[in-house]
Amino acid sequence: MEDKEERIETSLVAIVIDATPAKKFASQPLDGSSMMNRIFDSLIAFGNAHLMQASHNKLAIIACNSKSTKFLYPSMDGNSRSYQNRPGQYDMFAKVDSDVRHGLGELILNDLTDNDSTKSDSLLGGAMARALCYIHRVQRELSLSHQLKPRVLVVSGSCDSALQYMTFMNVFFTAQKENVVIDCCMMDTDSGLLQQGCDITGGQYLHIPSVAGLLEYLLWVFLPSPSCRSKIVLPPPTKVDYRAACFCHHKLVDIGWVCSVCLSIFCKFSIMCTTCNTEFKLNRPAIVPAKSKKRARIE
C-alpha cells in the first residue's frame, strides 16, 4: 500500500462576531448602506471565501452581544427556511447568507429592550466557549481519513471585560490544548486579553486602522491557514503585556504579592487575603537563644 497515509486536511473556521452595537458604526452611512451592513457583508463574504477554498472545508459562525450568544451557522432553528439562490450560485453560499442575516436580525431585535447595551460587557467569552465545543464535536464526528485543522477568528470592536477574565483564560488554555489557533481582528480598540490569547495559541492579532477595508484585511491576513502563514509576510506580532493586574485596584503590577492559597495578586503586603480570607504569617527570623546556653555551660 502507500508509504504514508494521506489524510485529507479539513480546515474549520469558527467566526465569532461581536455584534454589540457601537453607536459610532450604526449611524454612519457609507455609500448608501450603513457601516454595520458593510461589516456583516464582509464577514459573509469571508465565510464563503473560506468554503470556496476546498470542498470539505467547514464553517461555523457565532454571534454575541451583551445579552446572549447565538449560533448563526449552522443554524439551530431546525426548520428549513427556503432560501433563494441566484442562478449559478453554490447552494451553500446562499444558505450561509440567509442563515446569517436571519440570525443576526433576531439577535439584534432581542437586544432592543435594553437601551444601555453599549455600557454592559459583550459576552465574547461565552461565544468562544461554544465555538470550542462545536470544534470538539466536529473533531469527534469526522471520519479517520480526515484531519481537522480548526481555528477561531474573533471579530470584535469592544474593549476588555475584566469580569470575564476567568472565562477568557479557560478558553485560551483549552484552545492551546486542543491545537486550535485563535486569530483576532480588532476594529476600534485594542484588547489586551485577546492579544494574550493570540500569543498563547499562536494566532494572528490585528488592529484594523480603517473599518471600511475590513474585507480586504480579512482576505489577506486571516484567510490563509496557519500552516502556510510562515511563507507569507504578515503584520509583525505585537509585544504582549503579560503583567498581571492586582485584585485590589486592577492596576498592572511589575512586582506583586501572591497568596499561596488562592493565587490572588496584590500590589501591597497585607495581613489578610481578601479573596480566601486566610491570615498570613509574617516571616520573622528565628530567635536562637544559643549564646545564653553556651555561657551557662562554660560557667
Partner: protein, 404 residues
C-alpha cells in the same frame, strides 16, 4: 491481608462473577451503543468524583520523583522493560505536571545499589527534566533499592522549602525488598514532622512498609494492574492534592516581567529593557550564552531570562507571567456537576455544540445556574478541559467573575 481472608472464603470458593452479563445487545443486535454507554458512565463517575471544590488545594508544589533503578526493573512484564516504560510515562507526567502546575518545581532521584542518586535538582524548567529522563534510558539497573536513603535524600531537598508550599515525594517502586541503613520508622516520623506527603506506586505487588509510609504521611499507595493503569495512576498525581491541613499560608513576592509601556501606565521602558543581552539561564552552559533582544527582564535586578517561569539567580525573585497563575484558577472555581435528565421535547439542540438530539440519547445534562441543556460529550469536555459552562458565560447575569 492474611487476617481478612479467614473471615471470607477464598476466591475460588465463591461463586462465579458473571461479568459478561453486564453487556446486553440492543434491538438491532449491536453492542456498540451499549459499550459506549458503559464507557461514558464510567467517565462521568470518575469526573464527578473529582469535582469537590470546597477543599483547599496545594498550588505551589515541590515534588521529588524517586525512580527505582534496581535489578528487578529489567523484568519485561511491562514492555519493553519496566524501567523504560516508567521513563516514557514520566516524560508525559513531567509535561502534564508543568502544564497544570506552572509555578511548581520538580526533582528526580534514582535508587540502586543500596544508594540513591540525584538526577536533577528541584527546578521549574521542564526541558531540563525531560532531557535528563531521556539520558537516563542508558542507565543500567542493578543492585538493591534503598527506600530509606532515597526518602532521606528527598527530605533533605524539601526541608528548606518555604512553609507555604506543598511538599511531596512520588516513589515508583518496583522491588519487593529494600535495603536500609537504619530504622525506617524514624524516617517516617521525620517525614511527618516536616509535612511531607509520600505517594507510592508499586509495580510488582503490595509491600506492607509502603502502605504504612503512605498512610502515615497522608499520601496514596497503589499497585498497578497493567500499563494503562500505570499511566492513569501516574497522571492522577498531576492534580494538586488537598492540603494536609497544617500548611501555612503566606504572601509570596513574585515578579511579572514582559510589560510594555501603555499610555495610561507610568512605567518607563528604558532602552536597556530591549537591548541585546546575555541571558542568565544559559550562562553556565559551555556553548556561548544566548543573546537576543527578546526575553524577559527581572523587575527587581534587571537580569535577562529567555523563558518564564524561572527563579531569578541574582535576586531570588520568582518570575511568572499572568497566564501561569491563571492556569491554576480553575481549581479554585470548579463547576458544579450537571444534572442528568431525560430528554425534553422543547430543546432540540445541544446548547454548546449545536448537535441535534437523536432518539438514542436518553440523557441530557442541565446546568444548575443557567438551565441550559448540553449533550453527554459536551458535558465531559466542559468538565475535563474547558472548566467553564458556556451557558453561564452566555448569560449576562452569571458571566461575571465570582471574585470581587
Amino acid at each position: 491481608m492474611a487476617d481478612e481472608d479467614e473471615t471470607k472464603e477464598y476466591r475460588w470458593e465463591s461463586g462465579y462473577e458473571k461479568t459478561w452479563e453486564a453487556i446486553k445487545e440492543d434491538d438491532d443486535g449491536l453492542l456498540e451503543s451499549n459499550v459506549a454507554d458503559l464507557v461514558a458512565r464510567a467517565k462521568r463517575k470518575r469526573a464527578a468524583l473529582k469535582a469537590t471544590g470546597a477543599i483547599q488545594l496545594g498550588m505551589m508544589r515541590h515534588l521529588f520523583v524517586v525512580v527505582d533503578a534496581s535489578a528487578c526493573m529489567f523484568l519485561q512484564d511491562l514492555k519493553p522493560t519496566r524501567f523504560l516504560c516508567v521513563l516514557k510515562l514520566l516524560e508525559v507526567f513531567v509535561h502534564e505536571f508543568f502544564d497544570l502546575n506552572p509555578i511548581s518545581q520538580l526533582g528526580i532521584l534514582t535508587t540502586k545499589m543500596k544508594r540513591s542518586e540525584q538526577i536533577t535538582v528541584l527546578a521549574g524548567n521542564q526541558k531540563k527534566h525531560i532531557e535528563a529522563l531521556q539520558q537516563l534510558k542508558d542507565l543500567s539497573c542493578e543492585g538493591e533499592p534503598s527506600l530509606q536513603n532515597s526518602l532521606e535524600r528527598a527530605m533533605n531537598g524539601l526541608k528548606n522549602m518555604p512553609a507555604h508550599s506543598s511538599r511531596e515525594i512520588l516513589v515508583l517502586f518496583g522491588s519487593l525488598t529494600t535495603c536500609d541503613p537504619g530504622d525506617i520508622q524514624k524516617t517516617i516520623k521525620a517525614l511527618k514532622d516536616n509535612n511531607i506527603r509520600v505517594s507510592i506506586i508499586g509495580l510488582a505487588a503490595e509491600v506492607r512498609i509502603c502502605r504504612e509510609i503512605a498512610k502515615k504521611t497522608g499520601g496514596t499507595y497503589n499497585v498497578l494492574i497493567d500499563d494503562h493503569h500505570l499511566k492513569e495512576l501516574i497522571l492522577s498525581q498531576v492534580q494538586p492534592p488537598a492540603v494536609a491541613g497544617s500548611i501555612e499560608a503566606s504572601l509570596v513576592k513574585m515578579g511579572f516581567p514582559g510589560g510594555t509601556p501603555s499610555v495610561n501606565d507610568g512605567t518607563s521602558d528604558s532602552s536597556a529593557d530591549h537591548a541585546p543581552a546575555y541571558c542568565l539561564c544559559h550562562i553556565d552552559s559551555e556553548t556561548s550564552s544566548l543573546m537576543g533582544p527578546n526575553g524577559y527582564n527581572c523587575p527587581q535586578c534587571g537580569s535577562r531570562y529567555c523563558e518564564l517561569p524561572v527563579e531569578c539567580k541574582q535576586c531570588g525573585l520568582t518570575l511568572v507571567s499572568a497566564p501561569h497563575l491563571a492556569r491554576s484558577y480553575h481549581h479554585l472555581f470548579p463547576i458544579k456537576p450537571f444534572i442528568e435528565r431525560a430528554q425534553v421535547p422543547d430543546t432540540t439542540h445541544c446548547f454548546a455544540c449545536a448537535k441535534l438530539f437523536v432518539e438514542a440519547e436518553t440523557n441530557v445534562y442541565e446546568c444548575e445556574n443557567c438551565h441550559q441543556i448540553v449533550c453527554l460529550d459536551c458535558d465531559l469536555f466542559i468538565r475535563e478541559t474547558l472548566h467553564t459552562c458556556p451557558g453561564c458565560a452566555s448569560d449576562p447575569v452569571t458571566a461575571q467573575m465570582k471574585t470581587n
